[in-house]
Symmetry: C2
Subunit: 346 residues, 2 copies
DNA sequence: TTGTAAGCGTTATCAC
DNA sequence: GTGATAACGCTTACAA
């Protein structure tokens, strides 16, 4: 900490301990120190030890920016996700980030809020950092984004979607299958008159796939599908209420209802109970998402849990495999499974 | 897309469109293009227009790594947060990320899981990217981390905490005040016998500050504090149950209970109702956190909402002010307020 | 307003 | 196993 003769003030990165400083102090050349960090086995044990000492002593922190420039491959992976704080994607980010970090890579993150313009601008900004790989959510990108991706020539992963025909690595699950297993679960519990409530958010196409899985399966099982569509763009919680009360008042009163997501189901659960219906005796309720509140409701909400965390971990794993950081072939197609979380509501 | 005479293969960043390429195509020097991006007003309108054309045509993406190295200040801000997917921090990250992005900065993110070793290794890795600023959660860092921070000489912000005596910019709220306003809220509603349930997680010191606020305020109001401590390290949901049943069976049966957090409160709400108690008639319940499920419970959980999103936005704002990106003096101390969210449970 | 030259701290290349 | 040297693509400093 003593104030040594201050070196001639450099114009910019003044004061930073550099690789060269370490090299000099250790009596080796810069490239040897570089090798010490990147391919330790190619440095003799004695020098290795000496360098380690100096590094600790000087508190040297490798400048990854310089390294990235020199090698054109920074240890950064960028991810664009619709949102961070919603109930859906947080686990995916967490799994992705943790897996990456464990292998010495850093996460650059931005939200798109489902807007392809915002996605585009995030991708543009990210590419400036020459990330080692890029992870996007879903397959719908603006033409400009597609162009940048094509030119970037780095591993690309698309999560929360599954388009076998697309070139990027796909990591997703089948929404259709969600409809299937939810319907089978209810049928297995003895329910026969099963309805489905669509999402109130226009443009939620995945929810329609879940609905189709339901319709198909129920028909196979000899039932008669009954689909309710709430008013468009009603808040999901309200839409669930509306659907519940309408269905319970209808002539074709169902014994069980599958909701397009847990928000709808929660609204239904509460409104149903307020209206005096017992759940699941008068009507069973199922959701989708396994949002954090599902376990807190009374009765607990039976729902289908998407493999959110798993997708994040797998996305990172595939990226690291592509980069050769970890062993294994990075499969192009990665279809994960959802799981019925049985609680009291169905 | 035609295969032009392939230029002599460069060793590394082969093929990337560079600033120089843009400059040549536009008939100006590299520095002018650089200025076009960084201080557009110092470039004449005609050249500006010409450069814009070329940039679009060539699909030039500025290499931020090179820029970062040259200027020793990348437009990256790093944040270490205990976790991403828990109920607490997601809003803070979201607010932080969005505010940053809006001003052209990118977010580098990692989780510490409340471990100072993990925080240390994240900080070490981040510093290698010479971020423009660093944001940490809480004030407790390992000595090595403190040393790195001291030497890094970049703006540092600590969120979710508030230690006026510390040098970094502090952004937090008063846990003590949470205890105060919760107690006042219940007192205002007419409850007199008010109990407090501590967190089951050992080491949650903030929760103890909330408790002290409660004790102090209740005494001021003429009440007699009654603190219940669940078994240590019981899952919060279970701990809430245990506390509820124990308190309702005790001689000093309370009219209202403040729980150290919403998880405890939710456990209590459900267990209480299962045991036949009406809430809030037999006993009112309050939590802390305003976790996503709070609104979904029946009755809705009255709770104290911390300014999570706001803290993220403010952290980013202070950082940007420090960096001179946006106007305004960056205050050292930033105490935000919590808010009682009144629902049915109290 | 514009340009020239030098350098940011590292790694690739090639030689020893 | 080790080193000298030249990039990597940009921005600072200074000059015109």
């Amino acid at each position: 900490m003593s104030d040594e003769k201050s070196p001639p003030r450099k114009r910019r990165g003044a004061g930073r301990v550099t690789l060269l400083a370490v090299a000099r102090a250790a009596g080796v050349s810069a490239i040897t120190v570089s090798r010490y960090f990147n391919q330790p086995e190619s440095v003799s044990p004695e020098r290795r030890e000496r360098i380690a000492e100096v590094v600790a002593e000087l508190g040297y922190v490798p400048n990854l920016v310089a390294g990235g420039l020199a090698s054109a491959r920074g240890r950064i992976v960028a991810m664009v996700i619709p949102n961070i704080s919603g109930p859906i994607f947080a686990d995916t980010i967490q799994g992705f980030s943790d897996t990456l970090t464990r292998h010495g890579y850093q996460l650059l993150l931005a939200s798109s809020y489902f807007s392809s313009e915002q996605e585009e601008s995030a991708v543009r900004a990210f590419l400036g950092w020459s990330p080692a790989a890029l992870v996007l959510t879903s397959h719908f990108h603006s033409p400009a984004t597609e162009k940048m991706l094509a030119e970037a020539d780095i591993p690309l992963v698309e999560t929360w979607d599954y388009r076998p025909e697309r070139a990027p690595i796909q990591i997703g699950f089948s929404h259709h299958e969600v409809g299937v297993i939810a319907t089978r679960h209810l049928h297995g519990k003895g329910y026969r008159k099963i309805a489905f409530v669509q999402n109130s958010a226009a443009g939620d196409f995945s929810a329609l796939e879940r609905r189709d899985g339901y319709i198909e399966t129920l028909k196979e099982l000899g039932g008669e599908p009954q689909v309710f569509a709430p008013e468009t763009d009603l808040a999901p919680f309200e839409a669930g209420k509306q659907a519940m009360l309408a269905l319970m008042a209808s002539e074709q009163r169902p014994e069980a209802i599958i909701f397009a997501n847990d928000n709808l189901a929660a609204g239904a659960l509460l409104a149903g109970q307020r209206a005096g219906f017992r759940i699941p005796e008068d009507c069973a309720v199922m959701g989708f998402g396994d949002y954090p509140f599902a376990a807190m409701l009374m009765p607990g909400l039976t729902t289908v849990k998407p493999p959110a965390l798993q997708m994040g971990v797998l996305a990172a794993t595939r990226v690291l495999q592509k980069l050769g950081v970890i062993e294994g072939e990075a499969d192009h197609l990665n279809l994960l499974e959802c799981q019925v979380i049985g609680r009291e509501s169905a």
